[in-house]
């Protein structure tokens, strides 16, 4: 085993045992003497810096004489201190003399030119005026709108082309997405749908019972699940589960230059990545919605069964109120929701910028954008369906 004790360079971490001392005194009128003894390194320079700063501010010397003959070591932080003295004196028109500095440290100190560091390089907060903020926000909104329209056009064209030439679609990828976004979502959709039907029926049954109208819970659960809650809840779960996944997946591909690789290979990323995902979502969302409707209705039936009604009376009461138009209207809505959730997920993924936080931002924007779009579209559907008499 070699001997680890270093004869020529003490350990930087053991600087606490090598006490570093700074002595300051006025050695002549207007001349501040600074003597540094020991190691001037990252650990010790902080105190030295503060002492020197205080003394120089107090005395405002014309000349500073730094004696470093007993300074055994000086690292980058110490170099920063000596450089700061030099810079400060040069700025104030004073003089600085460094005595006894070992040539190797002098060599490193000479690498820096005080005139290049005239301003203290403090981290400046980027202040932006109010008008500029409004301008920037407007530009950003316009850019986003432009990107959205561009994307809608591209994706729409690619989807139409895919429908005209189904052979061009990468069905294998699409089915894989359908499996992860659709089949794997069955448990969570089932659970949320069941509880939603159950809770809604339970909350409604208690006040309705006072009027002996609890059988109408079947109407309430059936209509609200099939027309509204089934599609809406499925789409929200899809946005949280799959919209975010699409954005993260495409965002990571963008960062890893996989999207660039597709483009340079002559493959259209929209056709290759977006069409498969959108098709999968459009196929899977109505199926999931149907599943949610059924499970929700089942959940409602539990409440009425527990109140002594038979399953057949529950079912008969429901079909007297809910017809196929309601069901199809709900399923059509879910197709549109699926299209929007998948589209916004892919768009945000493709818009991912560089950096570790970029994928996170895209994912958040995909989910938030997806949910906002779903709710807005649902409102529009309500109005349209009302006028159509659906």
């Amino acid at each position: 085993m070699p001997n680890y004790s270093s004869p020529h360079m003490p350990d930087s971490l053991s600087s606490s045992i090598h006490t570093t001392i700074i002595d300051t005194s006025m050695i002549a009128p207007g001349v501040l003497g600074v003597k540094i003894t020991g190691r001037l390194d990252a650990t010790s320079t902080g105190d030295i810096w503060r002492v020197a700063d205080r003394e120089i501010n107090r005395t405002s010397p014309q000349r500073i004489v730094v004696d470093t003959s007993e300074m055994v070591y000086c690292d980058g932080s110490g170099m920063g201190f000596l450089f700061e003295l030099r810079r400060r004196q040069q700025k104030a028109g004073g003089k600085l003399e460094i005595l006894g500095l070992q040539p190797k440290f002098q060599h490193l100190l000479d690498l820096f030119d005080p005139s290049e560091f005239e301003e203290t390089p403090a981290i400046k907060p980027k202040s932006v005026g109010f008008a500029e903020k409004i301008g920037r926000a407007t530009c950003q909104i316009c850019e986003h709108a432009y990107a959205l329209i561009e994307f809608l056009g591209e994706a729409g064209a690619a989807l139409v082309q895919a429908l005209l030439n189904p052979k061009q679609v990468r069905w294998k990828d699409a089915f894989l997405v359908a499996e992860t976004a659709g089949v794997n979502a069955l448990p969570v959709i089932g659970l949320v749908g069941f509880l939603m039907g159950l809770i809604m029926a339970f909350q409604a049954a208690i006040p309705m019972r006072q009027f002996g109208a609890e059988i109408y819970v079947a109407n309430l659960v059936g209509l609200s699940m099939v027309r509204e809650l089934g599609p809406l809840m499925t789409a929200v779960v899809l946005a949280g589960r799959s919209g975010s996944a699409f954005a993260a997946e495409l965002g990571t591909m963008k960062i890893n230059e996989e999207i660039d690789a597709l483009i340079t290979m002559g493959l259209d990323p929209v056709r290759f990545l977006v069409v498969t995902r959108v098709l999968a979502a459009v196929i899977m969302t109505p199926l999931l919605t149907l599943f949610a409707d059924l499970i929700g209705v089942m959940g409602g039936s539990i409440v009425l069964l527990s109140m002594g009604y038979s399953l057949s009376s529950y079912f008969n009461q429901m079909v007297s109120m809910v017809n196929y138009v309601d069901l199809l209207g709900g399923l059509f809505k879910s197709i549109v929701f699926g299209l929007m959730v998948a589209g916004i997920g892919c768009l945000r993924g493709l818009q991912t910028e560089i950096g570790a936080s970029a994928v996170g931002d895209s994912t958040t924007r995909a989910v938030v954008g997806g949910i906002v779009l779903i709710v807005v579209a649902d409102g529009i559907f309500s109005v349209v369906y009302y006028y159509l008499g659906i």
Partner: protein, 271 residues
């Protein structure tokens, strides 16, 4: 460099691997204080694994790693933190924090580990950036820089606390020749003036001829060291044909070698 003077890194019978596959088998070597040491090898020869073992990112299957006399493998808690403070690492792709500006990246270790006044931290961080030629870019985000600039900023961050050892993973890969030569000079200057030990992991020869005092070469097949010494000696006198071929490939011409070798030799005499 046959005599062992003052090892700062001591690796003994090191064996390591992943999921049943041995990558580094029974490797022993030492790095002397203040020298520029290079770990060479082709792709898949285990040089990155060796680096990760030394800096404590992976645990070896067996063997010892001593840094400045302290065991890196078994160190825990405060002892491990103290060991980590002894070295800085420049990762191959920079690994700068994307949410901070360059200056903030370099300033971070100073903020966390020293009690310098804030303007002092700014100045020192700026001086480190100036050393790598990035003084004007302190307020930019890493994403706004080219790959080479990110790498230089990563060196500045690794140097922030002036550690005793600097590990540089692929120093010159992806850099233009002028920047690369400037960095070589920086390495030489820091090694000579501040006695910083450099461990450079690379498969590129150009910098090695300029700056390395000593190298080891790893081999994929034997999973161990097939050559150890000064690059010039290995090029001319190695008995291993693979080593001779490695050193005699284009880019390591006699003229280039001779020009830099003189400087390297004179530095050693001075050190």
């Amino acid at each position: 460099m046959n005599q062992i003077q003052d090892p700062i890194i001591w690796v003994e019978n090191l064996t390591a691997g992943y999921s049943g596959t041995i990558v580094v088998d029974n490797v022993s070597f030492e790095v002397n204080r203040g020298e520029v040491f290079a770990i060479l090898g082709g792709s898949g020869s285990g040089k990155s694994t060796l680096l990760k073992l030394i800096i404590g990112l992976h645990k070896p299957l067996s063997g010892r790693i001593l840094i400045d006399g302290q065991d890196m493998v078994s160190a825990e808690g405060q002892e491990r933190l103290a060991l980590l403070r002894k070295f800085g690492v420049m990762y191959q792709r920079g690994a700068l924090f994307g949410s901070m500006t360059l200056l903030e990246n370099v300033r971070l270790p100073l903020e966390e580990f020293t009690d310098l006044p804030p303007p002092a931290m700014d100045l020192i961080a700026m001086m480190k950036l100036s050393l790598v030629g990035l003084k004007e870019f302190g307020d930019l985000m890493p994403a706004e820089l080219s790959g080479g600039m990110q790498k230089r900023a990563a060196i500045a961050r690794a140097m922030a606390l002036d550690p005793q050892i600097l590990f540089l993973d692929e120093l010159s890969a992806g850099l233009d020749p002028i920047t690369s030569a400037d960095l070589d000079q920086l390495v030489l200057s820091l090694a000579h003036n501040l006695n910083i030990t450099f461990v450079i992991v690379t498969h590129e020869l150009s910098s090695i001829y300029t700056i390395a005092d000593r190298i080891i070469m790893l081999d994929k097949q034997s999973k161990g060291i097939i050559a150890e010494g000064h690059p010039q000696d290995l090029r001319d006198h190695s008995e291993n044909t693979f080593v001779r071929r490695f050193f005699n490939r284009r880019g390591a011409s006699d003229s280039v070698f001779g020009e830099f070798d003189g400087e390297s030799q004179s530095r050693k005499k001075g050190a």
